[in-house]
């Protein structure tokens, strides 16, 4: 089976590698780069714990081959804080008790950041629709929705300051 040459930028660092074609993005992140903030929940593209940003938008890293991402840019949960400061969305999850066990949280935050990129002031309904692909089995979602709403306004404030 042939190897594939790939160039990919992950968290602002560019990697040029020969990889096996059946390597999934999530396994590359977790096993080879030790970026274990990206979780594997269901492993079948349902739960969203594995979400990362592809060119700024959330995708599920458990269901995409690394080979499909040649010349692309990926951001994981490890790289969203800036200058040692939590990202406003992370801050909002902390302030609004948007997590309990925390397993779904990296995916939730990535998903939320992706939402705000497209919709600066999402309504509760829009938030709930957007996180259809993110499962949380602890919180009942109430505080997650609150966190995302708060995080969206904080991101907006930050952008306008």
């Amino acid at each position: 089976m042939n190897k594939v040459s790939i160039k990919i930028t992950i968290n602002n660092k560019t990697y040029e590698k020969e990889i096996k074609p059946n390597l999934l993005l999530v396994d590359f992140l977790r096993e080879e780069l030790s970026l274990t903030g990206t979780h594997i929940g269901c492993d079948t593209s349902q739960c969203g714990a594995c979400m990362v940003l592809l060119n700024g938008y959330a995708i599920k890293s458990c269901s995409i081959l690394l080979a499909q991402l040649n010349d692309q840019e990926i951001t994981t949960i490890e790289n969203i804080e800036q200058d040692g400061q939590l990202h406003p969305m992370q801050e909002a999850f902390r302030n609004n008790h948007g997590l309990q066990c925390g397993f779904c949280t990296p995916g939730m935050i990535i998903s939320a950041i992706s939402l705000v990129k497209e919709n600066k002031n999402p309504t509760e309904h829009e938030i709930r629709k957007h996180i259809e692909g993110n499962f949380c089995r602890c919180t009942g979602y109430e505080n997650i929705v609150k966190s995302i709403s708060d995080g969206a306004s904080k991101m907006y404030e930050k952008e306008n300051n």
Partner: protein, 263 residues
């Protein structure tokens, strides 16, 4: 997932040649179904041909009342395209109801149609709307395309390149989604062209289909009562999500909702 040879052809011809030269190849567009199926070892192609780098297969354009969508357009791209929103708003809404946002970013219309999932959303739209499906070497009429569960009339190496849809006077699609998967337990689509009314159904059977009796009745008079329980129960799925009887009723309920959304 078993491993495989990975190819990235630059054009359609190259893709076909690689396909012909491989033992058990598969085309890969977004991979939202294919990669998941490979992970579960439901399929194990010897060669995966990633067509995503082929140019000019991801355009959306409207000319002379025809909406042309390239096979590699993602669901998200179609949902947000301003021309589609203007010309066929409910078609955009359909796109925006597929899977979840992360899946819509990667999954493509060509991949979805070629996969022919019996509960997918696109087939309902493509059947109700007057649609031609284009491949590397021919044009296929919508009603000839879907032949069974995960089966189409596409030849082994044939590659779907675009769909062309004649814009209707009215279009809508309503699905009764499975709460977990969001796949249609039943989804019904309606397209109206002057006096012709076309109603199609997805999710209910082993393959999406035209609801012929309903379409005929509504074509003669959209305000008339259409025949109820017109799809025989034997043709409908009976599973843990819904009985055939329930699905039969849902077809009528959703059709009624669609008619109400028109008038």
């Amino acid at each position: 997932m078993y491993t495989f040879n990975y190819h990235v052809p630059k054009n359609v011809n190259e893709a076909i040649t690689i396909f012909k030269d491989s033992e058990e190849p598969k085309y890969l567009a977004g991979g939202m179904t294919l990669v998941a199926s490979m992970k579960q070892r439901l399929i194990s192609p010897t060669d995966v041909i990633d067509i995503k780098k082929i140019k000019n297969l991801d355009n959306i354009e409207i000319n002379n009342n025809i909406l042309k969508i390239g096979a590699l357009c993602t669901h998200d791209q179609i949902a947000k395209d301003s021309n589609v929103l203007k010309a066929l708003e409910n078609f955009s809404f359909l796109a925006n109801g597929i899977g979840d946002p992360a899946v819509r970013k990667i999954g493509t219309i060509g991949g979805s149609l070629s996969n022919s999932d019996p509960a997918a959303d696109w087939p309902a739209a493509v059947l109700a709307l007057k649609t031609n499906i284009f491949t590397n070497n021919r044009t296929i009429k919508n009603e000839d395309f879907f032949t069974g569960m995960f089966e189409t009339c596409l030849e082994e190496n044939e590659l779907l390149t675009s769909v062309e849809i004649e814009l209707p006077d009215f279009f809508n699609y309503i699905k009764f989604p499975n709460p977990a998967s969001k796949y249609a337990v039943v989804g019904v689509s309606i397209a109206i062209y002057e006096k012709e009314v076309r109603v199609s159904v997805t999710g209910a059977s082993h393959t999406p289909f035209m609801a012929k009796e309903i379409s005929e009745a509504l074509s003669s008079n959209i305000n008339s009562d259409f025949p109820k329980k017109s799809v025989p129960m034997d043709d409908l799925n009976n599973d843990i999500h819904a009985s055939a009887e329930y699905r039969q009723n849902l077809i009528d309920v959703l059709t009624k909702q669609l008619i109400n959304s028109y008038s």
